[in-house]
């Protein structure tokens, strides 16, 4: 049969070979297509990013360091700081200039999905049910680093900013950059140790959650005032308030109703993902339109998903792996491509960098520990919590990229602050080891 078909095709082919087709015109440019070869290069870049991030991450796990630090460092290594400097040919092959924008968009879409997941995993019940004291205390742990950071601006502004950036915006952003805590990390550690149901754990979690929300509010404020005209700022703030009100007053009840219906029928189906994607894309587009970042919209939509519902669990399960495995490494490389360690060439620059790291970690560590001590934790636990809150992780990188995009940070200062983010996250594990001993610390590391 195959032979018969083959010979039939051969006959058709023989006849066809004599046919003439119209002459080829100019190749019609297909607007919808990226340049040829782009897809192959994007796939290659993603492959290298995936392997580099997770290899360095695994190496750091072997060294009893949190893998996320390794992934952050892998991103910097693939950028102009190492690969681009010492192997420019390899750099140009793996991450050529035409491919970088695609990695950038993939990374940003990934971070939007990640912010949504962070919102879903944020337990708003913690914020509602806690006494005012814990909120006051948690504000204290954010205000210390914030004020020290903005005071630092007095020194850094003449050195590393430009006259195009108003001092107020610069000081605000530096304050926020200092006061960030990688909340998801803290939450996971506490819940893994079963501490999140205890009174102390719950207060600590509530503090961290308040920290997180406060930092993002401050940042949204920074973003809105970064646009120069006062009228525009007022409009942005007003629209942001309207947007937040609409999300909590209109979307939130709908989300609760939908989550209830979803769990009553036992989950399943693809409409949960459809509804979630539509809502988070809509919120992202609206917040971008308002003039604050897409991140905030996605985060808020995540927050209104009832934290403990089947819907939340299913969405996290179906999104988290791909986002964490494929998209976040792309974001680290996106950050790494913009981190140019070569810009810090003078010894005095390195001195400034060291001061930034010291101010950031001491202020966060001490005010975090003091706040935790006031909630009733014993000193050793309070200090451990301070050390944990000093881990800035991915969240800090999101803030810094935002500052760079807004033009508030110069590439030099951006690079210094990225080094600070890596250093503070890097010192968490040794600090915990010293404070808690190996066994407890090992448990924390695995979840970091």
């Amino acid at each position: 049969m195959l032979a018969g078909a083959g010979s039939l095709f051969a006959v058709i082919r023989l006849i066809g070979l004599h046919l003439a087709a119209p002459a080829a015109g100019a190749p019609s440019s297909s607007a919808a297509t990226a340049a040829p070869g782009t897809l192959a290069h994007v796939l290659l870049a993603l492959l290298v990013i995936l392997i580099a991030a997770h290899s360095v991450g695994a190496l750091f796990r072997l060294l009893h360091q949190p893998p996320v630090v390794g992934e952050m460092i892998a991103g910097i290594l693939l950028g102009p700081s190492l690969l681009g400097r010492f192997a420019p040919a390899a750099f140009a092959f793996v991450l050529p200039a035409p491919v970088a924008p695609y990695i950038s968009v993939l990374a940003q879409v990934g971070v939007i999905l990640y912010m949504f997941l962070m919102g879903v995993e944020l337990d708003t019940g913690l914020l509602r049910n806690r006494a005012h004291t814990s909120i006051a205390i948690s504000h204290a742990s954010i205000l210390g680093p914030f004020l020290l950071g903005s005071a630092l601006a007095l020194w850094l502004y003449p050195l590393y900013s430009t006259s195009a950036v108003p001092f107020t915006v610069f000081a605000l952003l530096l304050g926020v950059a200092m006061s960030i805590t990688a909340f998801p990390v803290l939450a996971r550690i506490l819940s893994d140790r079963g501490m999140h149901t205890s009174r102390l754990g719950a207060v600590a979690l509530a503090c961290a959650a308040v920290d997180d929300v406060t930092a993002w509010c401050l940042l949204a404020f920074v973003v809105s005032v970064a646009h120069a005209q006062p009228a525009r700022v007022l409009m942005t703030l007003l629209l942001t308030a309207v947007f937040i009100a609409a999300v909590f007053l209109i979307l939130s009840p709908v989300a609760r109703w939908y989550a209830g219906r979803y769990s009553r029928r036992g989950g399943g189906g693809q409409d949960a993902m459809l509804v979630a994607c539509a809502a988070l894309l809509l919120a992202s587009v609206v917040t971008e339109g308002i003039g604050i970042q897409a991140l905030f919209g996605a985060f808020l939509v995540g927050v209104i998903v009832p934290h403990d519902s089947l819907l939340a669990r299913d969405l996290v399960q179906r999104l988290e792996d791909l986002v964490v495995v494929l998209f976040l490494p792309a974001f680290f490389v996106f950050t790494g491509l913009r981190t140019q360690i070569g810009l810090i060439h003078r010894w005095s620059d390195w001195g400034v960098c060291l001061v930034i790291i010291l101010v950031a970690s001491l202020s966060k560590f001490l005010s975090g520990a003091a706040a935790a001590r006031l909630t009733g934790l014993r000193w050793r636990q309070a200090l451990s919590l301070g050390a944990l809150m000093n881990a800035r992780g991915l969240v800090e990188l999101i803030v810094l990229n935002l500052g760079l995009d807004l033009g508030v940070l110069t590439p030099t200062l951006f690079t210094m602050l990225v080094i600070m983010a890596v250093a503070t996250t890097l010192m968490t594990a040794p600090a915990l080891n010293a404070l808690l001993g190996e066994r407890e610390a090992a448990l924390m590391e695995q979840t970091l």
Copy 2:
């Protein structure tokens, strides 16, 4: 406390306002960033695509049509055929030219993930355990449409091809385009009715699986011969054979071992996703490098994942929703952007289009039904199976885009064949209704 902090910040700000920063230099061009506003536009485009695809899909579900037809049509409607023609301003706002390449890359990455999932869901046991007869019969059901398609090339080549395309490649591609069956659809229908464990169902499934694999092999062959030089073709075929052998002889045992280990420790963790992403990206890059498409690599890697393992189930669960909800609609729009119905302006063109649809559906329907009858199905069931096999769905669009990318199809013929793909998928539900009656057909539609 807040007031204190506020006034402290006010003091810092007052001092800082007197500071002068260095003059702003030329804005440093950040290579890693897409043009400003790109992200917002990509998010907007994704939102519109998501809503359009799933609304039209839901509308088609109401009309007792498979939603996938609605999503295909939504993609065409958002393209130059409708939106671009009658509302050019809206089209330029939603899908401006600078945004299209990003949608294109997202769509292609999505299709690569989808091909991987199709591979995972392909039950290779079916191919191994069946008698040679069923394979022979299934080949018959693919050879009919293939030969008729290539015979059709004798007529279409002088009309719609260009002299830049060799007749052999043109005839091969047209043959493959006619013989495609949307295998995943068929598999899901049979398993939903519990027919896949019966002897008849198993034979039918095996036939469809063989169809699928044969079509992709033929297509890989077409892709490799589309590159003109004979030496290059031989090299491509040789490397492809080496690649396939390496995947089945080396990677496949590793995949079986890993799947066994994964299910022994009860799943969980993110390393399954990491391993899967790394393997499928590697295979995609290698197949792109060889000169066949990334799709084949991803599909093959999917095939070697043991079909019934916990690993396969977890991967499908964690990838499928996002791919189907967000990425596939982007692919339909990517296709729609390249489908210009305006190119079919003469009545004779519409006549040709009609002939293509008739040849495609009659040849597939009749040879599918004849093949099914020979496996022992009763006539009514055999005809239903023929009608099912005529649904070409998404798989056909993948083939057609490949043909357009290779330059084998002109935009006009591409448009005609897209219309054929939509039409054949569209006629499946009414044909099943007529053959099987409402109840059974409704069951089929839901899964289509």
